[in-house]
């Protein structure tokens, strides 16, 4: 469980996040949606501590994360996995070395055990026979999947995904959504996903938070989202004509 209380963040004199509070539960895929530039990435980076918040508290289960020093944060970070918007694979390492990296760094496993875990994770994301390839030799979708494999290598309790399906075709993007949902349930993780993809919202949205201009405007699930009377949310959800037609025809 992750709890954010009254988070605010400014860059210089630019207010990017204003007083956001939210609760994210384990075993669920929690979505953060909002337009490009609304502050989703900044919010996620504040949650994991890559950016310092100006105000507010962040709790990981019963631990006050924002009150910890570097070493305390490090302990919690070992339980986190994150998929970055641009995958962030280490480009000097092969696929196998990328996924093995957290294991090399933080476990005392033997080489064989590590290899087994690596292959299990890669298999889980449907990457086979690519162990020796380098990130530059992979397609965007494959990179995302390898990044997911790396993020789950240490069986994290908290998974963060920044736009896991931006720049992917609808089909691959559904595969990735399903993957994230399945491993969330499998490992009973608290998963937080940033997205502006309405498909994933309708597929995965067990808990949705809508951010506009750095403020939380709405919170609910995928069934409630279509009935919402929040104007800004409606503009976001029914931005394309297909969605609008569907809404009108359902009335």
């Amino acid at each position: 469980m992750i709890r954010a209380e009254h988070i605010s963040k400014t860059f210089g004199d630019r207010q990017v996040l204003t007083d956001i509070s939210a609760l994210f539960e384990p075993g669920k895929t929690n979505l953060i949606i909002g337009k490009s530039g609304s502050g989703k990435t900044v919010f996620l980076k504040c949650l994991v501590g890559l950016l310092e918040v100006d105000e507010g508290k962040i709790w990981y289960n019963d631990v006050l994360f924002t009150g910890l020093d570097f070493h305390g944060k490090k302990e919690i970070r070992k339980q986190m996995g994150m998929l970055f918007q641009g995958s962030a694979l280490f480009d000097s390492m092969s696929v196998e070395e990328n996924v093995r990296f957290p294991l090399d760094m933080f476990t005392a496993m033997s080489y064989e055990e590590k290899l087994e875990r690596v292959n299990f994770c890669l298999d889980r994301v449907n990457i086979v026979n690519s162990n020796k390839l380098f990130p530059s030799e992979l397609s965007g979708g494959m990179r995302k999947r390898v990044a997911i494999a790396r993020a789950i290598a240490l069986k994290p309790r908290f998974l963060f995904c920044d736009e896991p399906n931006s720049g992917l075709d609808p089909k691959t993007s559904i595969v990735i959504d399903e993957l994230i949902r399945e491993i969330t349930v499998e490992l009973n993780m608290t998963t937080i996903v940033n997205t502006h993809d309405m498909n994933s919202v309708m597929e995965n949205g067990e808990k949705i938070i809508f951010i506009e201009e750095g403020e939380k405007c709405w919170e609910g699930n995928r069934n409630e989202i279509l009935q919402s009377d929040c104007r800004l949310l409606n503009e976001f959800v029914f931005a394309n004509s297909l969605a609008r037609q569907l809404k009108n025809s359902s009335k």
Binding site: K45, V48, L50, K73, K74, E75, R77, K78, M80, M82, F84, Q85, G86, A88, L89, F90, D91, S92, F101, P102, D104, M105, F106
Partner: protein, 247 residues
């Protein structure tokens, strides 16, 4: 001025992070080996070529400046030897390496920054500054003295080959000259400078790369800055060290 001071401050903060206790020594060892190859071994070629021609030019110039018959003929070899050891093999080679290794380090680390690879390391709980930078510092500080020795040898060799081919000196005079009144401390001096220059090049460039914000344009800018800043710092230290070590 403020920018300079805050840059200076962030440099020392970064160094504090770099020189903290390694999390997993075996991984640092592996990284250091990799860096020895990419920053050290891959520089041998350029150092050899440059030193050869440098030695040749120094020998020719010394020869033309000492054409007057009152100078003994072995002076050419002696003059070339001392210039090469004292100044060229440490400082000029360091400047060349600032261009090659410095820009390489800054752009590699800068790219890791803008593609969020550094964030990914931090998120895993890895001390990214130490993990990325420390192996580079160790590799260059250990290996650059060898580059300097290689440079001294090829420089003197270049002077000999070109000097005798151009007929400004005889083989016998040159070889007598490079042995005449040889002061071994000059080599030590040269190696001490090399070690300090290696440290400057690597850490100043790494600092530029580590704090890139933005995209590939900024990475390019950082690597230019890395070369300029490390060259200037290195020349400044050259003066200080010469005064300290030779006076």
């Amino acid at each position: 001025m403020f920018r300079f001071l805050s840059g200076f401050g962030s440099y020392w903060i970064l160094m504090g992070k770099v020189f903290s206790k390694p999390e997993k020594p075996s991984i640092y060892y592996r990284q250091t080996m990799k860096e020895l190859v990419s920053l050290g071994l891959r520089s041998i070629g350029i150092v050899t070529i440059i030193s050869f021609f440098m030695g040749a030019v120094i020998t020719l110039q010394t020869a033309y400046n000492t054409e007057n018959p009152i100078y003994p003929t072995y002076l050419i070899g002696l003059g070339a030897r001392d210039s090469i050891i004292l100044e060229f093999s440490s400082t000029i080679v360091a400047l060349i390496l600032a261009g090659k290794v410095g820009s390489n380090i800054a752009s590699e680390i800068g790219t890791m920054r803008v593609t969020e690879q550094i964030d990914a390391l931090e998120l895993m709980g890895v001390n990214s500054a130490s993990y990325i930078i420390l192996p580079k510092v160790i590799a260059t500080v250990l290996f650059n003295p060898f580059l300097t020795l290689i440079s001294i040898i090829t420089g003197i060799l270049g002077g000999w080959i070109v000097g005798t081919t151009a007929d400004v000196t005889t083989s016998q005079d040159y070889i007598y000259g490079i042995q005449y009144a040889f002061i071994p401390y000059y080599i030590t001096y040269s190696l001490i400078k090399t070690v300090i220059f290696a440290f400057i090049i690597t850490t100043v460039s790494a600092h530029q790369g580590y704090h890139v914000e933005g995209g590939s344009l900024e990475v390019g800018r950082a690597s230019t800055k890395a070369v300029v800043y490390s060259s200037v710092t290195l020349l400044l230290f050259n003066v200080i060290l010469t005064q300290l070590l030779l006076s």
